[in-house]
């Protein structure tokens, strides 16, 4: 597992207040991890801070699960 993936999972677990073990590579943020409404906004902000990047909204919309988040973020690093 890449360092980025580990950090994505850690940020997701902390932000969504769930156990890290529940966050898998294919976990979907909304359906599986409950990142609805404000939480989805907070999650994007948390990723931006963790990786010191600015996620453009168009791209962020395509980030539906952990693996696409990793791919998206690695492109911005």
């Amino acid at each position: 597992m890449s360092d980025t993936a580990e950090r994505v999972k850690k940020v997701a677990a902390e932000t969504l207040k769930i156990d890290l073990s529940m966050v898998k590579d294919d976990s979907r943020f909304v359906e599986d991890l409950g990142a609805e409404s404000i939480l989805s906004v907070v999650l994007v902000a948390a990723f931006e801070e963790e990786f010191d990047i600015e996620m453009d909204e168009q791209g962020a919309l395509g980030v539906k699960d952990v693996s696409t988040a990793v791919t998206f973020i690695e492109k911005h690093l």
């Binding site: 909304v30 404000i38 902000a45």
Partner: protein
């Protein structure tokens, strides 16, 4: 209102005919008639006191739309004056002390009576915002949203309030009368009780239960309808308004172009232009223009609203008081509350924000417009500043209000500023952004949430909030500047500095205020206070004219504000803009507004994603879901709003390209 000709006494022959047709009078000499009076049109009528009757020729249209013969049948008239072409039939008890205009039709009523010294709802004191009093506004026919707002909210200026009270009292005194009026062409049918109610021209009152102490303002171009089962006490209802379907209205003002119905009940409240209220309840509210509540279980209480949409089950209260209720909730223009949202007053919500959930703690987010405000499980307020800036809802609301102005009359009493982005909202964004910057710079990364005036915001969202606001501020300022540049270029480009200059008549204030739906620089309001205080403005007419003048100056005042804000935000003086940097400003607008429109498109796209499709394809397979969704909701590319936004992006590109070419020519 009266007959076209003077009234003269009945002839003996006419008295004989009337008597033979079942009519009686205490004294026939008290009954006078107009030229062309036809006694054959009066049957079974008792006359008491002085009664004047018009010609009664032809037909009138009844409330139900039938043409009916003019005349008087089965009625008791006491001290009444009737115009030409009137129909009065089947009056159960009597009509007393009324002037009835030409062409009016009154059928199947119980009693219509005016008592001595009636003010017809004028002067009724309404306890707005605090049910316990302290902010009372007295109703009068000419009450505007602006007048009411100042009277209700600016109690910190007691001398000014005294003057407003005097202006209002003069209006109340002016309508005081021993005689009520039913206007020309009015239709009154199937109403049990009308006591001390003035009914305006061309109004229709059909099936109301009881109307007591009120005025129904109405005109030919803005007729008013009072419908089935309505109970109204101590009220004024404005032109072009419909109060129908069992609505209950008490101590309430309903302004122009409003709709109230479906058993809505309102007490101690003021509704201004184009409000809609159905099913629910209002108690001691100031419903500024376009306040809308459509659903059952919605209680709006002790709040100030405008351009507001209440979700079902919206509720507010304050049970923490000790010496009587103190409420004071303020949802500034453009807010929405979600289903079963609750707020414990006092609260203050910034413009164009959305409130969700049950908030059990007070907060003040007035510096954070366009926010998403959601309650945490423990009732604390969680806010995402600026999140609603680029939502579909905000854009659609901004576009729809001007097209939904139902007011039709010649006199539109409430002045409405429709702009979503204005010195008021953008000024708040600048203030909010500054506060977020300070918090961001002074909060350790280990901190999860920070507190802003009673609300909580996740620390990681501070940066996003600043970004949202920056985008909104830049978009607004650049749009205003580029519009002025375009105007100058259209005139050959020579007048660029003139186009970007402030008008000598404009007024600048950093702070703008929203007075009952009319936005203005704070300095304009200060000037208004001074003019009232000095006696320069000495009556309602002059006061309202001054507000009109402020409204007319909006564009130039706004520009004066833009010039200052532009310098503050971008560090550039617009007096120094030349053709070359005008092109750069245009490019900036293209970038900022293009992104802004793209964000709105993204928000619209959420309507079509997989999660939204949950629930579709009942009894079908997973593969049926998309097909079912498309059949019901359509698809992204063909959606009307999406197409409009795509077109707006295209138009923006074309517009900037055209401007830059023109600037090259001018250079």
């Amino acid at each position: 209102m009266a007959a076209s000709n003077a009234y003269g006494p009945l002839t003996d022959q006419q008295v004989d005919q009337l008597t033979s047709q079942g009519c009686r009078a205490d004294d026939w000499s008290d009954v006078t008639v107009a030229d062309g009076f036809d006694p054959g049109r009066i049957h079974d009528v008792r006359f008491e006191g002085g009664v004047k009757i018009g010609s009664l020729a032809g037909t009138v249209t009844s409330a139900s739309g039938l043409d009916r013969p003019c005349g008087i049948e089965e009625a008791t008239l006491i001290n009444c004056t009737l115009g030409d072409g009137v129909r009065i039939a089947n009056v159960g008890s009597h009509i007393a002390n009324y002037t009835i205009g030409a062409g009016a039709c009154i059928e199947d009523v119980g009693v219509i009576q005016a008592d001595p010294g009636s003010t017809f709802g004028n002067g009724t004191e309404v306890e707005v915002l605090n049910e316990g009093g302290g902010r009372e506004v007295a109703l009068f026919n000419g009450l505007s949203s602006q007048f009411a707002h100042l009277w209700c909210m600016h109690r910190y200026r007691p001398e000014f309030i005294e003057k407003l009270e005097a202006f209002a009292k003069a209006e109340v005194d002016r309508v005081k009368s021993d005689t009520g009026a039913i206007g020309t062409g009015a239709k009154v049918s199937a109403v049990a009780r009308i006591i001390d109610v003035n009914i305006g021209e061309n109004a229709t009152v059909w099936g109301a239960s009881a109307l007591v102490n009120g005025t129904i303002l109405s005109s030919g171009d803005a007729p008013t309808l009072i419908g089935d089962g309505v109970q109204a006490h101590d009220f004024i209802i404005g032109e072009g308004t419909k109060v129908t379907q069992g609505a209950i209205v008490a101590k309430t003002f309903v302004g122009q172009g409003c709709q109230v119905g479906k058993q809505f009940s309102a007490e101690g409240s003021l509704f201004f232009a184009n409000c809609e209220a159905f099913h629910g309840e209002a108690c001691s509210i100031f419903a500024g223009p376009y306040t809308v509540t459509h659903h059952k279980s919605t209680l709006l209480i002790a709040g100030l609203f405008s351009f507001y949409n209440a979700g079902s089950g919206t509720n507010q209260s304050n049970h923490m008081y000790k010496l009587g209720p103190v409420h004071e909730g303020k949802l500034e223009r453009g807010c929405k509350t979600g289903s079963f949202s609750y707020m414990m007053w006092p609260c203050r919500v910034g413009p164009f924000s959305v409130v969700l959930g049950k908030h059990t703690r007070s907060f003040d987010l007035s510096d954070f417009p366009f926010s998403h405000i959601e309650a945490a499980h423990d009732g604390r307020c969680m806010v995402v500043p600026g999140l609603n800036l680029s939502t579909v809802g905000t854009v659609r609301d901004g576009a729809k209000w001007p097209t939904r102005d139902r007011r039709k009359g010649k006199v539109l009493r409430d002045r409405l500023s429709f702009d979503v982005f204005s010195p008021l909202t953008v000024g708040r964004m600048i203030a909010g952004s500054d506060r977020l910057e300070v918090l961001k710079d002074n909060t350790e990364k280990s901190v999860d949430t920070v507190t802003i005036s009673g609300a909580q915001v996740k620390r990681v969202l501070l940066r996003g909030g600043i970004k949202y606001y920056r985008s909104g501020i830049h978009s607004y300022l650049l749009e205003k500047v580029v519009s002025r540049i375009e105007r100058a270029v259209e005139q050959g480009g020579a007048g660029l500095s003139q186009a970007l200059a402030a008008s000598a008549d404009s007024v600048y204030s950093e702070r703008w205020v929203d007075i009952g739906g009319q936005m203005m620089p704070a300095k304009r309001l200060e000037d208004l206070y001074a003019a009232v205080g000095s006696g320069k403005i000495a009556g309602l007419g002059a006061f309202e004219s001054a507000l009109d003048a402020i409204h007319e100056a909006y564009g130039e005042d706004e520009w004066a504000w833009v010039r200052h804000a532009y310098k503050k935000v971008f560090g550039d003086n617009l007096d120094e803009v030349k053709t070359a940097n005008a092109a750069l400003i245009s490019d900036q607008l293209l970038a900022v507004q293009g992104k802004f429109l793209s964000l709105i498109l993204i928000d619209a796209g959420k309507e079509f994603d997989e999660v939204t499709q949950t629930g579709f394809a009942q009894d079908g397979s997973d593969t049926d879901r998309a097909a079912d969704f498309q059949a019901v909701r359509g698809d992204f590319d063909t959606n009307k709003f999406v197409k409009q936004m795509k077109q707006a992006i295209e138009d923006l590109n074309t517009r900037i390209e055209k401007l830059k070419q023109a600037l090259t020519v001018c250079a």
